[in-house]
């Protein structure tokens, strides 16, 4: 890709990503916010494609836009919290903490960016030729390093996910045996802030 085209794509995609991210925070309607999140994910996927990371871009769309945000929307619709805003915050001080963390990561990122000025950028021919020069494609490269060098981290991550799934199943099944027909109502009451919504159902 030529220099100019790269700049144009970068500016369009990154400004779309930032604009959509602002939308995620500012939209009052949760469904609109979730849609803005999808837009952000797509814009970031475009940036990945620009860096020749096709696999990462595809996985980003499949996993995040195609599954996770769909689940968000699913929950929003199921709980019926889409019409009226939930203004009471369950975590005190969360706005302040979020502001501090956000500013802090911005500062750290800026420092790293300024420090890394001398380092070769990712699109540098050196870094991409290491992948293409090995005679392996994008996917082969990821696959080989994932299942050899980083096998331990990969397995740990999958165990973590299994634990999360099992935990969710255990939480849901807690009191809903055949001898406790009121189990689902009980669960709704025992839930978090959305409990009242569920109990109504």
């Amino acid at each position: 890709m030529s220099e100019v085209a790269q700049w144009v794509v970068f500016i369009v995609a990154s400004s779309a990503a930032i604009g959509m991210a602002v939308g995620v925070v500012t939209q009052r309607n949760p469904v609109h916010a979730a849609l803005a999140l999808v837009g952000t994910l797509f814009a970031v996927a475009v940036l990945f494609v620009m860096q020749e990371a096709h696999f990462l871009a595809a996985v980003q769309i499949i996993v995040y836009a195609g599954a996770i945000v769909v689940l968000f929307l699913f929950v929003i619709m199921l709980l019926g919290i889409d019409k009226h805003e939930v203004l009471d915050e369950t975590l005190p001080l969360q706005r302040i903490i979020a502001g501090i963390v956000g500013l802090g990561s911005l500062v750290v990122g800026a420092i790293l960016l300024l420090k890394a000025d001398a380092a070769p950028p990712v699109t540098d021919p050196d870094s991409t030729s290491r992948i293409s020069g090995s005679g392996l494609g994008n996917v082969e490269h990821i696959g080989r390093s994932l299942f050899s060098d980083y096998l331990w981290a990969f397995e740990i991550t999958s165990v973590l996910l299994v634990i999360a799934v099992v935990g969710a199943v255990v939480l849901v099944r807690r009191r809903s045996g055949p001898d406790a027909p009121e189990g689902r109502e009980g669960l709704g009451a025992a839930g978090d802030a959305g409990g009242s919504e569920k109990a109504r159902a």
Partner: protein
């Protein structure tokens, strides 16, 4: 990865741009014409199967019926419900149409053609992650249905959209695992590599078609693709008897037409994917010619295979009753996904066994036996499918199901498996067996 030979000279000149634009227009026109013809074909075949005449007024054999319907829908008023979320209500039809076409863009509908000295693939875009792109687009396609149902601000569309999202997410896993079967055999994710692997040179290359080496993947793919595109017998999303019209109940005019077109576009795209992955794609007798006749013959093969597939879809539509919701979830999660997992394991063992030169008489039976043991273990561990008695107050139609629709959705959440609980949501008792 096999690059498009159009880029082989390393620079983009005017001819390249014209060819690319031509290919995009051709692909879109091909898809639209196929859909328009398919709608007529479907109505005609179903009416034949049901001893009716079907559309026969507009044009010879009623072939222009779809066009007439389209013109009529263009002229109709586009009503928007008062409770609707205006912006998203208008956006949703485009969100279903766009992914359907984008997914079709990576499908090769022929081998290579030479126009005025420029050789190019008969395919809009060859991207290295072609298969993943299709999975991504079929995952994105659910947004249109979901948001249409939600934005309508009405009860039945919301139910339809919640069913849609649950169904699509459930079957995405089986679809992906079926695709993995084909990918293991071909060794690449790009669509052109599938065409290359299954290239035709004599009848012996029928054995190269991936349906021969991964038949179970093909079966799982077809079932999951039908569910993913909300085709019968998996069309619970718009189950007329229960949900009036499902997610597009509140849509009228051209927006309604767009949903219908997108639905059949998805079916055409998925059929094309199945052909490309498992049935040789555009390859067939005569496609080994290097000249433009080879390209034409390959296009004819592609179209022929596509219509055989579409006929099978119509056949299923006419003959198989719609699944109940719990049957749908049961088939997806408890049958297809474990089956696809075990089968993927077998394919992987065969792949490694061939590469390492193991003794086929040992590793083939061993892999099947091991897979059988794993499958037995999975099914033994699976909790028995039991009919959970409906909680009191849920099955009574005058129960506490609120107008917001939240109370009703629990009837479709797959926990109540008795089927009797849906009476609270549907105007009539569910009539399916």
């Amino acid at each position: 990865m096999i690059e498009d030979p159009l880029w082989a000279d390393g620079e983009i000149d005017l001819a390249d741009v014209v060819i690319i634009i031509g290919k995009v227009i051709f692909a879109f026109a091909f898809l639209m014409i196929t859909v328009v013809l398919f709608i007529w074909f479907m109505r005609k075949v179903i009416s034949d199967m049901q001893n009716r005449i079907g559309p026969n007024r507009a044009g010879p054999f009623g072939i222009l019926q779809t066009l007439a319907d389209g013109v009529k829908l263009f002229m109709k008023e586009q009503s928007i419900p008062e409770q609707a979320d205006q912006r998203i209500f208008k956006l949703a039809p485009y969100l279903t149409l766009l992914p359907a076409f984008l997914a079709f863009c990576v499908i090769p509908w022929g081998t290579q053609i030479t126009i005025a000295g420029n050789t190019t693939n008969l395919q809009v875009a060859e991207i290295p992650m072609g298969v993943l792109w299709i999975l991504a687009m079929s995952g994105i396609g659910v947004y249109g249905v979901m948001l249409a149902g939600w934005a309508s601000g009405s009860k039945y569309p919301l139910l339809g959209s919640i069913r849609a999202s649950a169904q699509v997410i459930s079957y995405e896993a089986a679809l992906g695992l079926a695709v993995i079967g084909a990918v293991i055999r071909s060794g690449s994710l790009s669509m052109q590599s599938f065409v290359a692997v299954q290239a035709w040179d004599g009848p012996g290359s029928l054995r190269d078609w991936l349906i021969a080496s991964a038949p179970l993947s093909f079966v799982i793919f077809v079932i999951a693709a039908l569910a993913e595109t909300n085709q019968p017998p998996f069309d619970l999303v718009e189950a007329e008897q229960e949900l009036v019209g499902g997610f597009h109940t509140e849509y009228t005019g051209i927006r309604f037409a767009m949903f219908n077109v997108a639905e059949f576009m998805n079916l055409v795209t998925m059929s094309a994917v199945a052909i490309t992955l498992f049935l040789g794609g555009p390859n067939g007798p005569g496609t080994d010619r290097a000249d433009n006749w080879g390209a034409l013959i390959s296009f004819a093969w592609f179209v022929g295979k596509l219509w055989i597939f579409l006929f099978a879809a119509v056949w299923l539509r006419a003959s198989v009753p719609r699944l109940r919701y719990d049957q749908l979830m049961d088939l997806g999660w408890r049958k297809l996904i474990p089956l696809a997992l075990v089968w993927t394991g077998i394919l992987a063992v065969i792949k490694v066994g061939r590469a390492e030169g193991w003794e086929p008489g040992i590793y083939l039976p061993a892999s099947f036996a091991g897979a059988g043991l794993v499958a037995l273990f999975i099914y033994a561990c699976m909790p028995k499918r039991e009919l959970v008695p409906a909680p009191s107050g849920r099955s009574v139609p005058s129960g506490p199901s609120g107008p917001s629709g939240t109370g009703d959705t629990s009837g479709t959440s797959g926990i109540d498996t008795s089927g009797s609980t849906t009476s609270g949501t549907a105007p009539k008792e569910v009539a399916h067996r």
